[in-house]
Symmetry: C2
Subunit: 365 residues, 2 copies
DNA sequence: CCTGTTCTGCGTCAATATGGAGTTATGGAG
DNA sequence: CTCCATAACTCCATATTGACGCAGAACAGG
């Protein structure tokens, strides 16, 4: 709901601080006059706000522009390097970490393989080492990381604990947010991998202009993430989108059937060359995906359906039959596109989640 | 997203007006001091706000309380009779209209039967007559009705047009919001019936403390409404929740099977007395419902699932097997309750929708 | 060194909110 | 009937915030 707190003068300052800061981040570097124009605030107000932000360390004055007419204007820039956030995918066979500054610019990636059968503590340790190596490699001291978010397959509750994992051995019950925070001595967050992927897609991918999005992650395992009104919808237990577990949907066996004797990539490759059996299998797989996807699409009626995960790389070979089957099943057929990202989607979404937390809690926006 | 407009002093006034007004409506009648205490605002501010609201006609001063110590306090009350809203269900075989004041207190009901095979213009005309009779009967002049909302089975797009109706002949393509507004010369709104029912349930029924709710309407036809974050989620085309159309779910035939040779009420009655065949049929029906409901529950992971519609009157005879089947199908099993309302649910939800519109647009909250 | 341009610094004004000092209206006790 | 306790009212002073306007400062170019 809407917050119902009395509004005094400090509320105005808060609102205008947020406004100014977001304008400054859009502009990169800007003069007071320019910020005043784009925000609709008076020059004076912008200056006061910027002074305060400067004292808090989020804004710095940069040397004036040269070679322009008139008195040189003071210029200000957002200190994106005032802090950092880290997003990490704790996957079935790899850990992917991304370190980003406060503008969300990723300045370092780090990736480590991890055995599919690794025990929870081994997987966590690998995630820890990968995350620390990511920060160290970029030359960022650990205390400068303000938030860490982790994504993993399985259901993650709102405290950041894996409450159910089917694919990873012993993973059920593992607390992920806690350790992630302790690695850097900051806030730790955790969420389901598909949920984070849809965040990434909405942030920087093909779903930027959609407000309701269903993201279907199709790979070794199938999962889904849902965005409602531009915000991640996780549900009471973080289980929103877990349609794959419904027997009638059959996502469980869909992948198994697809890759019976060869790798998924090979099947898609063969289908592309027109191999009858491969085409049939891809079509069958697309149909299985479509049943689950349509259940989500019928429930949510989204603006956009994004197909992600390893199998999304197959492109139209898979998208085309998926669209066809969806059109048969849905009353209101959404647009269907492939994910903009590859393996980075989950870590990138984790960065966004961490950034959301920092912007809300630390910058107080 | 969050609005990003510059905040000046008038924003404060707006915030505090909303705060004061909502407090006053909660309190019914209150003194300045009391309002100051509950809102956290100063007495002075509350007075200024109330003066302004008084001029606009929304607040009236009432005689002071007698027999209390100290100087009598001026008392104020919200003028719930400053305007009215009307909610109407345009159903398959009946029209139900409800007229409510600005507090949402329903002051008049009106109901008319309508043949299932009625042509669209006949149905609309019946709805018009019923709505006008409802207002006339309560002695409320038509110009005092500020908003009208209509609910109907089928998919209703955001312009208030029925974009797809399976149950009502010729109903597809009919504009409902437009005519509804013209009946009273005010704003007209329209939405799907299950969507409105979930609003009613969240407003005054059993879902008041839940923020994510799935409402399953089980009657002559099955439909669903979804509440996310306390707000109605309708989707891009208003088709959110239309899971029943998915063949694998089979809501289409579920009802047909249940009532093969007798009325639904009779089957439930028989099941209650232990009739083997009836129990089996109810169980089969519950399973069908559960498949669709679980698809929604898996997609949304709601706090609560409400069963409404005519069949909800059966109570535990239907709820118990529904719960059982849901528990088998869902990863995260929501609480399941029967709707608090009977036939009034949709009209009541329509009242809420109209009231939301009035509070947003007219009162400027 | 003058001129045109643009930004800065500062003073003024308006809207809103808060808090306190003193005043007023009422019920009840003597 | 008088006085007192009580609770609310009135009024004013003050603080915060933002908008606006004007004089002056800084710089480029001639």
């Amino acid at each position: 709901m809407t917050e119902l707190r009395p509004g005094d003068a400090s509320l105005l300052r808060k609102v205008n601080t947020r406004l100014t800061l977001s304008a400054l981040r859009r502009e990169g570097v800007a003069t007071l006059t320019r910020l005043g124009r784009v925000t609709g605030l008076s020059r004076q107000t912008v200056e006061t706000v910027l002074d305060e932000l400067g004292e808090r360390g989020y804004v710095r004055e940069v040397p004036p522009d040269e070679g322009v007419m008139g008195r040189p204007a003071r210029r200000f820039g957002f200190r994106a390097d005032a802090g950092y956030v880290l997003g990490v995918e704790v996957g079935g066979d790899a850990i992917v970490a991304a370190l980003a500054d406060l503008n969300g610019e990723v300045i370092a990636w780090e990736r480590t393989g991890v055995p599919g059968g690794a025990a929870p503590h081994e997987r966590l340790e690998a995630a820890r080492r990968t995350s620390l190596a990511c920060a160290d490699g970029a030359g960022v001291a650990r205390r400068r990381v303000w938030a860490v978010a982790a994504g993993t397959p399985g259901i993650v509750d709102r405290t950041g604990r894996v409450s159910l994992s089917i694919t990873l051995p012993g993973w059920t019950g593992v607390d992920l947010a806690g350790p992630a925070g302790r690695w850097f001595g900051c806030t730790g967050l955790a969420a389901n991998d598909a949920n984070l992927a849809v965040l990434a897609e909405h942030w920087r991918g093909g779903a930027q202009h959609a407000s309701d999005v269903v993201y279907v992650l199709a790979g070794h395992r199938a999962g889904a993430g849902i965005l409602i009104g531009g915000r991640l919808h996780q549900g009471r237990n973080g289980a929103a989108g877990e349609i794959g577990t419904l027997r009638q949907v059959g996502w469980e066996d869909a992948t198994r059937e697809l890759v019976k004797e060869s790798s998924a990539a090979e099947v898609f490759e063969a289908a592309l060359t027109g191999d009858r059996d491969a085409v049939r299998r891809v079509d069958r797989y697309a149909e299985r995906l479509a049943i689950g996807a349509s259940a989500l699409a019928l429930a949510v009626d989204p603006d956009l359906l994004v197909l992600g995960g390893g199998h999304a790389r197959a492109g139209d070979v898979l998208l085309e039959p998926l669209r066809r089957h969806l059109a048969e099943l849905c009353v209101s057929v959404p647009e269907v596109v492939a994910s903009t990202f590859g393996d980075e989607a989950v870590a990138l979404g984790a960065v966004r989640l961490a950034l959301d937390h920092v912007e809300r809690e630390v910058l107080g926006l």
